[in-house]
Symmetry: C2
Subunit: 387 residues, 2 copies
Amino acid sequence: MLKGNMLIAQGGGPTPVINSSLLGAVREAKRHPEAIETIYGARYGAEGILAGDLIDLGAVPTEQLDLLARTPASAIGSCRRKLTDADYPDVLECFKKFNIRYFFYNGGNDSMDTCNKVYELAKAAGYELRVIGIPKTIDNDLAVTDHCPGFGSAAKYAAASALELAQDVAALPIHVVVMEMMGRNAGWITAASALFTGLMPCEHLVYLPETDFDKDEFLAAVKEKWAKGRGLLVTVSEGIHYAGGVPVADSGIVDGFGHKVPGGAAQTLSDMIMNELGLKSRSEKPGLLGRTSVALMSGTDRDEAELAGATAVKSAVEGESGWMVGFKTEREPEYRSETILIPLAEVANAEKTFPLEWITPGGVTDEFRSYCLPLIGEYDSRFVNLR
Amino acid sequence: MLKGNMLIAQGGGPTPVINSSLLGAVREAKRHPEAIETIYGARYGAEGILAGDLIDLGAVPTEQLDLLARTPASAIGSCRRKLTDADYPDVLECFKKFNIRYFFYNGGNDSMDTCNKVYELAKAAGYELRVIGIPKTIDNDLAVTDHCPGFGSAAKYAAASALELAQDVAALPIHVVVMEMMGRNAGWITAASALFTGLMPCEHLVYLPETDFDKDEFLAAVKEKWAKGRGLLVTVSEGIHYAGGVPVADSGIVDGFGHKVPGGAAQTLSDMIMNELGLKSRSEKPGLLGRTSVALMSGTDRDEAELAGATAVKSAVEGESGWMVGFKTEREPEYRSETILIPLAEVANAEKTFPLEWITPGGVTDEFRSYCLPLIGEYDSRFVNLR
């Protein structure tokens, strides 16, 4: 039995349920005192590892720990820093200093790449270490796994927000409303905004970043839908682009780090509708609220996130290393999911975008709806329209 | 006993609970068959009255009617049309044609003005009509009443969204996050985003439209708060303006109706922070989601909205006319509210903006928090931060 301390870190953008994975991991670790002595968390992700700035999570009172299940964002802190080759000796240094023998990185594809490198590095250095990745991303763009913890909640937010907004759009049909959803390269969240299109009292158009945006087709579709007199909701991904990858929205700003700052896609389309069609239009951009809403957290997502954290720790204690926890599912006759272990190398830096065959002109197919619906957990979609 | 038909109309922008007022009015009307025969709703507000396009609400099955309590937006439709003097003969025509003897208009200050004119008109024409206004506005800007149905839910949305977003802002403090709230002239909703400032794990700045926005002071405040290293959330009203009423954000677009289209205040401040301070920044604009969220509907608000609808009908049946239903409250030792009747003339076109004495530099006072907190109903503000 490998005995030593454990370190868990949260990487990249938070999700509503990443803290549930942390909770699952810590609870499971406490069940294995024969293997895991001190349970450390890295303060602000990779930054904490490099600085040896760790939190003793075993010392956190249970009633505090339990609140992780309802706390959005990263309770131990996260960062956008991507570890480079030059950083890895410092990582190993930290592991040796704190006798870390179990390492869990909870993140997206960047983090799984880091996880994989740490795994290879320790092996090459002859340092005994068990490494397991815990998946986390609202974007649902990790390879191999059926879906990622974090997506179910972001999808529920998108689906519920669009359906509830549609009530307003239809009740006072004076403007075309354009709503922007997160997801720069992957359209999963935007697609989820169309989960209840069939229940909407207004027309609905959806645009994902997986296909090129065509301005003329868009304006023609808006004109046609608007003419029906039921009101029109348009939901778009922040990352929509014209042919050749030219962004639809570009702020023209280069930030202090030299990165081009994206513009507002919804605002740009809304301006386009007003300028080119002479219709009233307004735009909404809930942005980060789509990954922080507690009320629209998916119960299924939350439970799976906790299970992913627990499974990572349990597997490592049982001797596994070099894997990411993933999910295998059945949807018929009813939704069931179970965890699987996927080689880190298969998910590192791979990106699973939205399937092209699930995209229709201005919409998504019912195959996607069948895929997505069980992930959002309970949601009461019954509304009344007496008009 | 005045006997005849009843007409209820919804006016202006919807709220999450305007349909609860409709529900309260219809339920109460059904209790008075001795006075009210047919219960009509105007399809799309004033448009429906002018066109004689009415809905028989008494024929709606109970299980459909009950869904009004959870349906955001205007279930019988609303419009932005303001009735002019030229329209009033058609209004009276409609009332006569359908033998309307009880008229209820559920709206904001514009609608109360309409209500008052209809009341005066019927009196002048010798047409026996009972007229009562039912207050509705997320903006909380109606005079005399302690608060307006609709505000509690919008305030809950603002308060919860800001506190939950603050968890994200602090967990990954890489950018100043600016969030825009609805309310062009009145800062009540934006102020509500500061309800839980004391619980936030990051710094927080708040700007309302009741005072002039000063760019230099703003940038200095951002710089100072950012330097504390805890992350920074800025919440602003869509209507913030410089001295002289010059809007901070101007889209430069004139819409098809000749109206200047406002720009995005949050996006403008976010760009300002990047350009002038060289910090990373992003903006969120939940916009209409702040008045359509079912999950963040305030239970207190919902109950009061239903009571306002019921009270209007009950009062009219008892012989009252020319009033708006309002609320009188006590907050100590615990929150209690009761309905009152306010002369329509006192609320018509009057606007109650946010009290200047409740505004501090970049924030609001605890007096406001004591005023607002009971209105949002139940909300669990417990989150854990292990950093």
